[in-house]
């Protein structure tokens, strides 16, 4: 029923034969391109805001847990359980607490980044060779200096690898944000879900955004670790 209405609407909008036959219509895409601009930027915000918040939280907790090891187990079991809950269910479960809209999507998407980034920060810090730390200590660096000048730079590739995974995952999960009424490309997908041109454009933008995030973090990773290129 809903799809019938959706198809009728598209027919009314352009009246072109291609659209009526539900084909892949480049002319329709060219004409309707502007309606995807706002959802696209909504999607970008739905990706970047949770990513930033998730990074801040998990990075801070990881730095504390690096010294107080007992924190790792409770944090990973809690965020692991959150990570397992399906995004659609999570977006619903939050609504009695945070209402419909951006906040719900923001909280849910942030929760999904917590485990990924934390895990990579911890493994990154663990993989720093003990010799490097000993050398730094021998040069008279304090523990704080060792952390910021030796351990974190050496852990950076692993940390950014975590951010990369979190970024692409968040782009995909943000497609569900429409369930909580937070817009994004998912709501465009859902609105005319049997119209091929719409699916190709909205879905394509989604995949493109994920690929873009992936490449950008990869470039950042290369730029931030010049010594790796020297040895490679």
């Amino acid at each position: 029923m809903l799809d019938l209405i959706a198809q009728l609407q598209t027919r009314e909008r352009t009246g072109a034969g291609c659209v009526a036959e539900n084909g892949f219509c480049p002319s329709w895409i060219a004409d309707n391109w502007d309606r995807y601009v706002d959802p696209f930027f909504q999607h970008v915000i739905l990706t970047l805001a949770p990513l930033a918040a998730g990074f801040a939280i998990s990075f801070a907790v990881a730095l504390i847990a690096h010294r107080r090891r007992w924190l790792i187990t409770p944090y990973t079991s809690l965020t692991g359980a959150l990570y397992t809950i399906p995004s659609i269910a999570f977006l619903y479960l939050l609504q009695p607490l945070t209402g419909r809209g951006f906040l719900t999507a923001f909280v849910a998407l942030t929760c999904y980044t917590l485990l990924i980034i934390f895990r990579n920060v911890i493994t990154g810090l663990e993989s720093v060779p003990a010799e490097a730390k000993d050398a730094a200590r021998g040069m008279g660096l304090t523990e704080r200096q060792i952390l910021w000048r030796v351990e974190l730079p050496l852990a950076l590739p692993e940390i950014l690898a975590g951010v990369r995974i979190a970024a692409t995952t968040t782009v995909g999960l943000a497609a569900f944000a429409f369930i909580a009424g937070a817009g994004g490309l998912g709501s465009e997908l859902n609105e005319q879900r049997f119209f091929k041109s719409n699916i190709v454009v909205a879905g394509g933008l989604c995949v493109l955004l994920a690929a873009l995030c992936d490449v950008l973090v990869l470039i950042a990773q290369r730029l931030a670790t010049p010594w790796r290129r020297a040895t490679a």
């Binding site: 997908l189 699916i199 879905g203």
Partner: protein, 255 residues
Amino acid sequence: MTFVFAFLGDFGDAIQFIFQSRESVSGGVQVGGLGEIAELTARHLLVSAVAMAAACITCIPLGLWLGHIGRGEFLAISVSNVGRAVPALVLLFFFLAYLGIGFTNVAVVLLLLAIPPILTNTYVGVRQVNPEIIDAARGVGMSEAQIVRRVRLPLALPTIFAGIRVSAVSVVATATIAPFANVQTLGTPIVEPQTYGFSGGLGAAIVVAVLTLAVDAGIGLIQRAVTPKGIKLAEEAPGTRRRLMLPTRRREPAT
């Protein structure tokens, strides 16, 4: 009882929806109640199980073989990266628009989601087996097929099951969007608020969340059960630092 439901507010209403049927929002039909929830859960698990079975049957032998001959690393690893870039929702809607609705299409979408973790983990698990053990197996006169079946497979099982676990969780989670393709799963009350109301959606969300956590925990138990004794002993031996075992939906091989 009613007092408790009232105290819990929206959540109480949602839990009541799970246990007692009620008239739908638009009126006329009875929705909710254990009967309908059980029926939706059964179809939810059926479509997930079909996809998982197909993924295991195709990917585990392929991963074992590729891992054993040491070829196709690019395929086995990059399938994970590509899989992550294509969101489940986009994949499903693409299938709906181009191939139509129905049980088979949903199962195929779920199968595509299940493939990357299983294939990558099988490959990585098989590659991780110490080459000296393989040499020893060859030395005692095992054939290549025996090496794969009796040495590589048991030693890779924990890693393979980690992949199956990741896949199963994402498949059960994604089966929630199957109602978009006219397959009635636990996602139905979530995507049809005009019939089931907000509390119906919330109730279904609770059931889906519990179901996913149960699947995760269940496969975790199997994973522990199939781990060869030798590996367990090596992990628990005093002096060796225990590896950080974290549940991951999409496990990345170390890069």
